[in-house]
């Protein structure tokens, strides 16, 4: 309640603190988000996925420039992996986005995955809401590259970008299920390198094999050299072209509905797990773990047993 109203007033410290509260899953986060939610839904969300080293952050720096030129306020969420061994993380994406170090209309936040499976952080969706409520016009979500990451990004974003680079064996990557369907725009970065145009041809062939219904969006391939900024203005225009398409075709409405459904289901799942976690007897749980391990009961049966008292 108290952070939410400050965020709406434009208090950057409060917004940063709220993002932390959300990340730490403090109980107050729930109330704050309840108050904030009605003020969200305005920002346009762009997901950026790609293998480590593909140049996502460098490309983002160029995209921030392009959108700032259009006088748009920009939010960036950069996700980096948490170490499974130590539980810590080095969040280094800001290094590539130094041009905006003091621009008040650019807010960059680094998030560690903290054990979340796939490429997206648990807190990402809610951090997007805070940036949205802060008045950002466009929010970029940069995810750790992994097959699952690309698909997760698409569920959160209005426009999903996938960054590929020549010579990375990407042809095989691309054919893996989900990636072809998940991307709205394909970006071939480091396009000055050998094999860039071969990659483009391979990608074009794969895209041709995908059947398109009339009126459906046909993903475009943009060649970029993020290190020099080449092709990045075109990429920005392509993002806006996709946005216009989504709005005029009614597709944006459909996607936002799917997003709302996803968020609701995630929240239900989270709430249920919390309820069970808070109320379950730890010894009872350990006994169940023991039974499962020794094959006295199957995991599904054990789960049914555990859930029973929570479901009337």
């Amino acid at each position: 309640m108290k952070l939410a109203s400050k965020v709406l007033e434009g208090d950057v410290l409060a917004a940063a603190r709220l993002m932390r509260v959300i990340e730490d899953e403090a109980p107050s986060a729930l109330d704050e988000l309840k108050d904030l939610y009605a003020h969200t839904g305005r920002a346009y969300v762009v997901g950026v996925a790609g293998a480590p080293g593909s140049g996502k952050s460098t490309l983002l720096d160029c995209l921030i420039t392009a959108f700032r030129k259009k006088d748009m306020k920009v939010g960036v969420i950069a996700v980096d992996p948490t170490s499974h061994f130590t539980g810590g993380a080095i969040l280094g994406d800001r290094i590539r986005m130094q041009s905006y170090g003091v621009d008040k209309d650019v807010f960059i936040r680094s998030l560690a995955t903290r054990g979340w499976r796939g490429g997206l952080s648990k807190a990402t969706v809610n951090t997007v809401h805070v940036l949205d409520a802060m008045g950002k016009d466009i929010i970029f979500v940069e995810a750790v590259g992994s097959g699952q990451g690309e698909i997760d990004i698409a569920r959160v974003a209005d426009t999903a970008l996938i960054i590929l680079t020549p010579g990375a064996g990407d042809e095989i990557q691309m054919m893996k299920a989900g990636i072809m369907e998940a991307a709205d725009i394909f970006v071939i970065n480091k396009a000055d390198r050998d094999g860039a145009y071969d990659l483009k041809s391979s990608l074009e062939i794969l895209l041709m094999m995908k059947s398109h219904l009339p009126g459906e969006w046909e993903p475009k391939i943009v060649m970029t050299e993020a290190i020099s900024g080449k092709g990045t203005e075109e990429l920005a225009e392509e993002i806006l072209r996709h946005k216009d398409f989504l709005i005029s075709s009614g597709e944006l409405e459909k996607r936002r509905r799917a997003k709302a459904r996803l968020e609701l289901m995630m929240a239900i799942e989270g709430s249920l797990m919390n309820r069970i976690d808070e109320n379950i007897d730890k010894d009872y749980l350990e006994k169940m773990v023991d039974d499962v391990m020794h094959r006295r009961v199957s995991p599904l049966s054990a789960a049914s047993e555990i859930i029973k008292p929570f479901i009337k």
Binding site: L13, M19, L91, R94, I95
Partner: protein, 98 residues
Amino acid sequence: MEVIYTGVRQTAEEIVNAAIQEDVDVIGVSMHSGTHLAIAPKIMKLLKENSAENKQVVFGGIINKNDVPTLKKAGVREVFGSGTNTSRITQFIKEIIT
């Protein structure tokens, strides 16, 4: 610990801005240029101006031992010279954030 690494040659404004956006507990300034006496008070001033004084500052790197008292007087919590054992730094950080 989650460490946000912002890269080299950051100005005091960039450092404080990043610290605010990321809502950090501690700011670690790594010096190799000899400008620590100039930058430390700038950082402390900016933190105060932005109501972010609860963020604590430590310095490290190539810093003349004679400058340490001045830095501490400016508000820097500790100065770790090059070669300091990492565990000493992490232990100190754990202590100052509680």
